[in-house]
Symmetry: C2
């Protein structure tokens, strides 16, 4: 088992990474001495792993299970309300604990419910997707979608501990595994060239769910993200660098109705577009693009998505939550392992989109 510490004043926690950790859950949760446990999960994950967790935690007192419907469409107030109702009905108090077992949606919704129940009770994350293990497990972002935009409603609420059982990744569809690899590649690109090269070398082993490669890649990603979040918890500066590939990615998701491409797939393509834009504004050497594109493809991600509307893409990026007064702030690469935040000339952006197959 590997441990990564996320150091936030007064609210530091550990991420535990390794095979078969769900069976050992009591070991990590007993010290929290919860009065009640509310296990929140999704329909699919409930069938696969909830019983295992319930058995592991059975000695720790009253436990209730709340099963949310699968999918991003249910990342809404109705799901939060379902959790809050169950907490109230179950007699939960300020010492109760919410445990989120599942992917990013479950973690975001359950964490948000925990953050607003009695003005904040504790929660534990048990992410079961690669994306959740390397991304939403670090940083304390929780929340739900608004009809008009993703993640518009939420809170910063740090978990007590994150238990990343890499064995759960064996049941993950390969597209979703690749989607997680996109964030792993992103972390290497923006912060650590050596880590990026190691991950690229390990890609076949990662796609085959080899435990050692997974442990190394997940711990490395969490360390990079934890370092950034520790220095900038509230996203006032450096944390924005984690949006590498995301401005393009969000636009791809929005233009395709959030159904055609997974978030990680859109980000994979976004990484290539961000690299291209970095070259056009004179930050990155052209020679760096090849390895990035190759890595994205080797991870099983689309390096190029044809046929999207160039004008709609720009419009979508202007409306992004991270934009201020309509100015798009891009995260660009100076070299592999170093990212910066910039606005860019309109012509450069248009050239990148055109070269990327937008029309």
């Amino acid at each position: 088992m590997q441990r990564v510490s996320v150091g936030l004043a007064g609210r530091s926690y550990e991420i535990l990474i390794g095979p078969d950790l769900l069976r050992r859950a009591a070991e990590f949760i007993a010290p929290l001495a919860p009065t009640h446990i509310a296990l929140v999960t999704s329909a699919t994950v409930n069938d696969l792993y909830a019983e295992r967790v319930r058995n592991a935690l059975s000695g720790l007192g009253p436990l209730m299970t709340i099963v949310l419907p699968d999918g991003e469409a249910h990342k809404n107030w109705s799901s939060v309300s379902k959790i809050l109702d169950a907490l109230v009905e179950g007699g939960a108090d300020r010492k109760s604990l919410v445990v989120a077992l599942g992917g990013g949606v479950v973690g975001d919704v359950a964490g948000f419910a925990a953050s607003i129940f009695m003005r904040g009770i504790r929660f534990v994350q048990m992410p079961t997707t690669l994306l959740a293990q390397v991304d939403s497990s670090v940083g304390g972002k929780t929340g739900i979608n608004h009809e008009r935009g993703k993640n518009l409603i939420g809170a910063f609420h740090q978990p007590q501990v994150v238990i990343s059982d890499t064995s759960t990744l064996k049941t993950l569809p390969s597209r979703e595994l690749s989607a997680g690899l996109a964030e792993i590649l992103k972390h290497g690109l923006l912060a650590d060239c050596k880590y990026f090269e190691q991950v690229v070398h390990d890609l076949p082993a990662l796609r085959a769910c080899a435990p050692d490669a997974l442990g190394r890649a997940i711990a490395g990603s969490c360390e990079i993200k934890a370092g950034i979040v520790t220095r900038d918890e509230r996203e006032t500066g450096e944390r924005a660098l984690l949006n590498l590939g995301h401005t393009f990615g969000h636009a791809i998701e929005a233009m395709t109705g959030y159904t055609r491409w997974l978030h990680g797939e859109a980000v994979g393509c976004g990484l290539v577009l961000a690299a291209d834009l970095s070259v056009r504004v004179g930050l990155l050497e052209r020679a760096a693009i090849g390895p990035i594109e190759t890595a994205v493809q080797a991870a099983g991600l689309p390096a190029r998505i044809e046929g999207l509307s160039l004008e709609r893409a720009i419009e979508s990026m202007r409306g992004d939550k991270k934009s201020e007064a309509g100015a798009i702030r891009f995260i660009l690469l100076e070299h592999i392992g170093r990212a910066v935040q910039r606005t860019v000339p309109d012509a450069a952006l248009r050239a990148t989109l055109a070269a990327g197959g937008y029309a």
Copy 2:
């Protein structure tokens, strides 16, 4: 104008207290340089004061008004959702500002909406009731009710500044003015004997809305509460003392369906019951009860409410949010100006309730 500082690391703010401050609102809000202002108010306060605020802020950029229905019944998700929708529709961003103009419900709902929009944007309070000026203006508690209990859903979110215009109290119904006096008396009882005596002396002037007496009483109460909240922001210890009279008060409200008595009226009666219980467990001298009862009556509050059910009262108190595993923690008086937290023998509680007219 008087100023009280609420010192919280990184999130300190000032409470400004004085006559006719709403007309000067721009002076206090301009330094925040908001991109948009969302003015949230209630139907009654909208008619009385919203135009005044809109005129004052007209030079500061786009301003939208969100009017909530009057009353505690609307302290729910539907009102929060109305604010969030308006923020999204109005193109609000992370630099936008929510301004809460009204009583405690408006402040709690608008503050909570601000705390979860884009994971937290800034807000300013303009409390227009005495209760809100001395109670919810300090401490950053925001939230809504759940069908099964008050304030079960919420967040800690500190305002940027609180603008307490004492002129608005002239239009406050006298019952509501008295309800605010209950919290003022409470602050004196639990923390400062001299302040308590001054308030008792000023009661006739306070009930007549004399500006000097109001400024002195409000500033004094805010200072007492600010001191406690600064030392215990998350209510892990000392902050619980602010619940003096509230365990009894909440039970009175719950048993009478939240319609017969105002919160402050129930607290007024609760102060007398807490004093009686303090005597029965040997903490407080019997001679202290007379002055407390007299003060409650002179404030226009009920010192005694006849005919409530003793068993239902105990049941209600056991279910209170502040109870843990069914044990009721009371705030009791050692003398006027000093409170402590205690559990009490069941017999003493029953004797207090019986003597207080419960059957």
